[in-house]
């Protein structure tokens, strides 16, 4: 098998294992990453929601927020893990597609 084939299999394995990135923080009761809190969390910590933050934080509605389906915030880890794997798969399909396209365009201009 070619090296690129082996590496794609490796990426596939990482996709399947990706829910570990959801389950381990839950098991060890770790919160959000530093500086990635929502408005409510900031209010709890500082007593207020910064005005500019409030205005900007709702600017963009991602189609798969936090690597889950919309409205799945309260779902259990099993469902969230499923959504996480689906997100990883589609994310990688799109990213690989875009990167290949960028690579091909740059290569063409090189020739």
């Amino acid at each position: 098998m070619t090296l690129t084939g082996k590496l794609w299999i490796g990426i596939g394995a990482l996709i399947v294992l990706s829910p570990l990135g959801l389950i381990l923080p839950d098991q060890f009761k770790a919160g959000s990453a530093w500086g990635e809190w929502g408005g409510e969390e900031i209010q709890k910590m500082t007593g207020y929601i910064p005005r500019g933050f409030q205005r900007l934080s709702e600017l963009w509605k991602a189609p798969l927020p936090d690597y889950a389906f919309q409205g799945w915030e309260g779902k259990d880890l099993f469902h969230l893990s499923f959504a996480y794997i689906i997100s990883a798969f589609f994310g990688i399909a799109i990213i690989a597609g875009v990167a290949l396209l960028v690579g091909k365009v740059l290569l063409k201009e090189h020739e």
Binding site: T4, W60, G97, G103
Partner: protein, 226 residues
């Protein structure tokens, strides 16, 4: 390390966007000059790897979480300019599709993770590995050291960007408008987490991958290939 929307002022976001435009321009020119057909798939694999490794959130028990970025590994394999492009693609899709990192903060996040991280890491790697044979253990150690330096310096940059906000942007009564924590809190929080925990994840991932690839295809580590 993905700064969300609302933590940086529009002016800060504009500055980092403006800084990234010439960097992206130079990156595409540099890659155009050196890219060959064989490397294109590695650009895609590098972007995909960076994206998926960032999904592996690692907990500090009872504290916060963080993750590796993979950008130093990509820089070692295809060069720092190509790594800049690969990680940028991953970060833009993360922001647009998954809301991981703000769309207004794309410039700042790309500066930290797609520019500072791969370049700092790559220079430490070349400094330590220069002159060593492609299959040598020194190269594995150099890759690990580069990974550690890259992610910790990137975290420092993010900490400074966060920490400057309340200094620059606050109401008359002292309430922050954007990130509420100043340099004295943001810099240690970002840097210590990466020095103690998340940096080591980057080290292990990078060193193991380099060790594996040395056996698979030593051409990655022969000088002059970028």
């Amino acid at each position: 390390m993905h700064i969300p929307d609302g933590y940086l002022s529009p002016a800060t976001c504009g500055i980092f966007g403006a800084v990234m435009i010439p960097i992206w321009t130079v990156a595409s020119k540099a890659v155009k000059k050196t890219l060959n057909v064989r490397q294109v798939p590695f650009l895609a694999i590098g972007a995909a790897f960076s994206f998926v490794i960032m999904m592996f959130n690692v907990p500090i028990p009872g504290g916060s979480t963080g993750h590796a970025v993979g950008g130093v590994l990509v820089a070692i394999l295809i060069g720092p300019w190509a790594a800049c492009i690969a990680v940028t693609v991953a970060l833009v899709i993360q922001a647009l599709l998954f809301g991981d990192g703000g769309i207004t903060a794309i410039g700042a996040n790309c500066f930290n993770m797609a520019f500072v991280l791969p370049f700092a890491g790559y220079y430490v790697y070349t400094l330590i590995s220069s002159g060593s044979p492609s299959g040598s253990g020194r190269r594995v150690i150099a890759a690990g050291a580069g990974a550690y330096a890259g992610i910790c310096v990137a975290a420092l940059c993010a900490g400074i960007e966060f920490g400057l906000q309340p200094l620059l942007y606050h109401t008359a009564n002292g309430q922050a408008l954007y990130c509420p924590y100043g340099l004295n809190v943001a810099v240690p929080a970002m840097v210590v987490g990466h020095l103690l925990v998340f940096g080591w994840v980057e080290v292990i991932v990078t060193a193991l991958a380099v060790k594996y690839l040395q056996k698979q295809d030593a051409v990655f580590f022969e000088g002059g290939r970028s």
